[in-house]
């Protein structure tokens, strides 16, 4: 895997300014986000915690260009996301963002190797499969490249998902409860892997978790409730 040195970048990786998101539903308008201001430095690891429905996932989707805010500015990896077309946002994700989900989200009809190669194939890289093999080796799955998702354990599937998220050396990695579907021991191993890779690649990490241990590994923890950041806890950064 590539590990470019990007730690010295001065500009923040994520900049959200007064971001709101209102959704209309049959029951009336719902204010999902109510004026979020956030700046995440390059290479920083930020944890998002809070009750269900607080707006954590929505905040993450906005950072990934998967959701368009009702108002406010969103700048990620130097790109202004507001106003970009669906396809431009897809290219932005392909080039800059890796995502790890709680439910792994591997394509069931593709092998581990093919799943990992997808972002590189989409980018038109000729060495997609070599790079994917290296990424799988980095997560300890070099012996499982030809297996389909349903032939892998939950922990193995999540490792494939992590390899896929890191394979294109993204500047930002988003993780939505990456250990939520795993037992404690496997979850710990995944946390080690995730943080290790993020450190090696100087990747900015934004992760949602209910797990205090995982949150404790982050540089900064944001508490979100009712669509607002109610508390910032920068214990790790202060150390």
């Amino acid at each position: 895997m590539n590990s470019p040195d990007r730690s010295n970048s001065a500009a923040p990786m994520i900049q959200l300014a007064d971001v709101t998101l209102n959704l209309r539903s049959a029951a009336g308008e719902v204010n999902v986000l109510r004026g979020i201001d956030l700046s995440v430095a390059a290479g920083e690891a930020v944890g998002l915690v809070g009750p269900s429905g607080a707006g954590k996932s929505t905040l993450m989707m906005i950072a990934a260009g998967l959701e368009t805010p009702t108002t406010g500015r969103v700048r990620v990896a130097g790109c202004d996301l507001v106003g970009l077309s669906e396809d431009a946002l897809a290219r932005f994700r392909r080039d800059h963002v890796g995502i790890v989900f709680q439910a792994f989200r591997l394509v069931p009809t593709m092998t581990a190797l093919e799943n990992v190669a997808i972002p590189l194939e989409l980018a038109g890289r000729n060495d997609a499969f070599e790079a994917a093999e290296a990424a799988l080796a980095a997560v300890g799955l070099d012996a499982r490249t030809g297996h389909y998702p349903d032939q892998l354990s939950g922990g193995e599937q999540q490792r494939v998902a992590i390899a896929r998220a890191f394979v294109s050396a993204p500047r930002l990695l988003l993780a939505d409860e990456p250990t939520g579907n795993l037992d404690g021991k496997t979850g710990d191993a995944i946390i080690e892997l995730l943080f290790g890779l993020a450190r090696d690649h100087c990747t900015t990490l934004l992760l949602i978790t209910h797990d205090p241990v995982l949150a404790g590994r982050c540089d900064r923890v944001l508490h979100i409730a009712d669509g607002r950041i109610v508390e910032q806890d920068a214990r790790q950064a202060a150390e």
């Binding site: 996932s57 998967l66 669906e86 396809d87 897809a90 392909r94 989200r105 394509v107 009809t109 989409l122």
Partner: protein, 844 residues
Amino acid sequence: MVLPRSITLPLRFARRELRTGIKGFRIFLACLALGVAAIAAVGSVSSAMMAGLEGDARRLLGGDVDLRLVHRAADDAQRDFLAQSGQLSEIVSMRAMARRSDGEARSLIELKAVDNTYPLIGSIELAPAIELDAALAERDGVFGAVVEESLATRLDLEVGDHLKVGDATLELRAILMREPDRIVNFASFGPRLMLSEAALPATGLVQVGSLIRYHYRVVLHPGTNREAWLQELDTRFPDAGWRTRSLENAAPGFDTFVDRTTLFLSLVGLTALLVGGVGVAMAVKTYLDGKTETIATLKCLGAPSALVFRVYLLVVLILAGAGTMAGLIVGATAPLAASALAGSMLPFQLPVRIYPAPLLVAALYGLLTALAFSLWPLGRAGQVKAAALFRAVVAPLAGRPRAAFMLATAAAVALLAALAIATTPDRVFAAWFIAGSIGAFGLFLGAASLVMAAARRAGRPRDPELRIALANLHRPGAPTPGVVLALGLGLTVLIAVALIQANLVRQVTERIPDQAPAFFFIDIQPDQVDRFNEIVRAIPGVSEVRTTPMVRGRIAEVNGVDAEALTVDPDSAWALRGDRGLTYSATPPDGSEVVAGEWWAPDYAGPPLISFDARIAGDLGVGIGDTVTLNVLGRPITATIANLRRIDWSSMSMNFIFVFAPGTLEAAPHSVIATVRVDDPGTETTVQRRVTDALPNVTAIRVKDAIEAADRILRAVSTAVRATAAVTLLAGTLVLAGAIAAGHAGRVRDAVILKVLGATRVRILKAYALEYGILGLVTAAIAAVVGSVAAFVVVTRVMRADFVLAPEVVAIVAAIATAITLVFGFAGTWQALGQKPAPLLRNE
């Protein structure tokens, strides 16, 4: 060849998608394969028929050219010219009676007198294998004859026995196994008897006005330009009045038959494909519903919408290609099957080979249908939001795709319509068919929406089962549109076919026996009429005898315009094609009604007036006061139309397109035809025997035999129609099964949850019975109306017959269809009812 990445990448992803095999695509494949197979089979068999006909045209025609005169032979100048042009063969054909020499058995026959050059092309096959000349030659003062086996059986004759035709006694010398120029003829009234031209005078059948056909076949000298020769023939003998046939129209009746049959069968095949298209759309939607998570994942990883669309378009196209290919293989082998099943009934060898043109057309139909029905769901697939992955349940596809995909769908439908119109000989009919299909689709989709809206607005009935049934009808992802479309279209075709058939059967079996006479007697000489009346009226049980003079003539000009230059509605073209029977009468004939103009005075004596068939007059665009010139035995007679009659052809009375006023035709050589009605069918044999014994030149045609011949045609036609309707119904059933299977997983889950909440199996079953009962009934009701309208149009406009709605037929078909829906619904639910809740809840 290096393909661009915009193709290789989607191709690579599509290939990975197809690793799971055809699961979920079985109905898709079956629907496409079935429709394509039907169209390819019809096209291939039709091409094979035409190729066979073309290959054997000379043999079937009996030469390069066949000229036919009715009533009279060619004159010496004409005969000389024909003989100088090449090899000439003269044939005389007519209907006559053959009797066993002891008079114990008799039969109507198709008599053919041949000269010693016959057959010019091909060979005749006799059993025992003797030469035709020897078989027909005069031996010890008796001429020989050969007959078809059926006649030998009917008259209980063996080779060497004697039989009588007219006044002549003939010796049966051989059985006719194969006649090279005999074209298949369902409607032939009697078996063939062949004798020599030299034997004909002795029969006494050649009399003035008898319905005799003289055929002159010519094999032209090598190098003769046929077109130029035909032109010269026309210039030399402009008034000859013969009907000319050459290789291009060796069997006009037969190729029209093949054309019409092909038209109907290909449209029924297309209906099957369109019904199957509903299955295609549902299969693609269900498949893509299951792929929303994968699509969202790909988009999360940076795949643009266009790539997603291309990947799944390729998946659909590859599968459509496979389904189409399977259909083509079946269709391509159809000529082989047709040759094995019906080869012996055809007058020519069916060339068994691959016919690329109809296969190409069928393949285009298959691929365009797949596109027309899958672009809509494919377009929606590109719109799956990647953000969906952050939510617990990925919602199925819904709503409309982008405008570009709706336009592409419309373009595919337009191409499909254009293909149907371009490849169908009768374009107007094809256009109506397309419009009707689109209308039916719209109607059933609208009906489905109405059912869903009504179920939504029905409020909350107190009965919980009814409440569940109504909710199931309109909930998101309900199978209502699919079931209504599939069942509705299939049922419409079925009801239309059943009603058309019921009407045809009624025409033949219900109406005719009451009104029809028992016999037609033809070729009675004017001086035999009194004797004929005397004989027949003396037989107890005979209730009515009618005689009418008959002359043959053909339309030469209409208002001074040559008949060949007229463009006529194809339905009435037959009236212009050859000789028609003409009569004269002082009073209006029975079975017809004057609808315009006035009937002439009984003692009319003035310039020629005629009464004309109203429908044909309408198609020719003529009316009262216009003139028609008829060629009667070579002499042109111009008459003014005095009135128009509406003729009930099904009455089986003596009906004539043209009836002359007294004073014109009496002098022309003519014969008399008669109808005889009997009260007691037991006297029929006596009537036939007494007349033909006393007047051997008179031919008796039993109406029952004619009805049987018509019945044979009907049966053959309805078998073909039923077979193709079955294909449509099969497609509908497949789609219905698919619609119900698509919701099966949801059904099982619902049933389990209902059981967990305390519902008994009977109550769940009742809820489903109500749901499918409502669907089946509503669909059957609409299909009954649409199918009846379709049948009405076909019966009244295409077949020009009276339409009678047979409510019992509609009711039976509708009831069966509702039952089928219930059975399918239950089949899908049965498993659900048997499920133990625990395993399913654990997996949830």
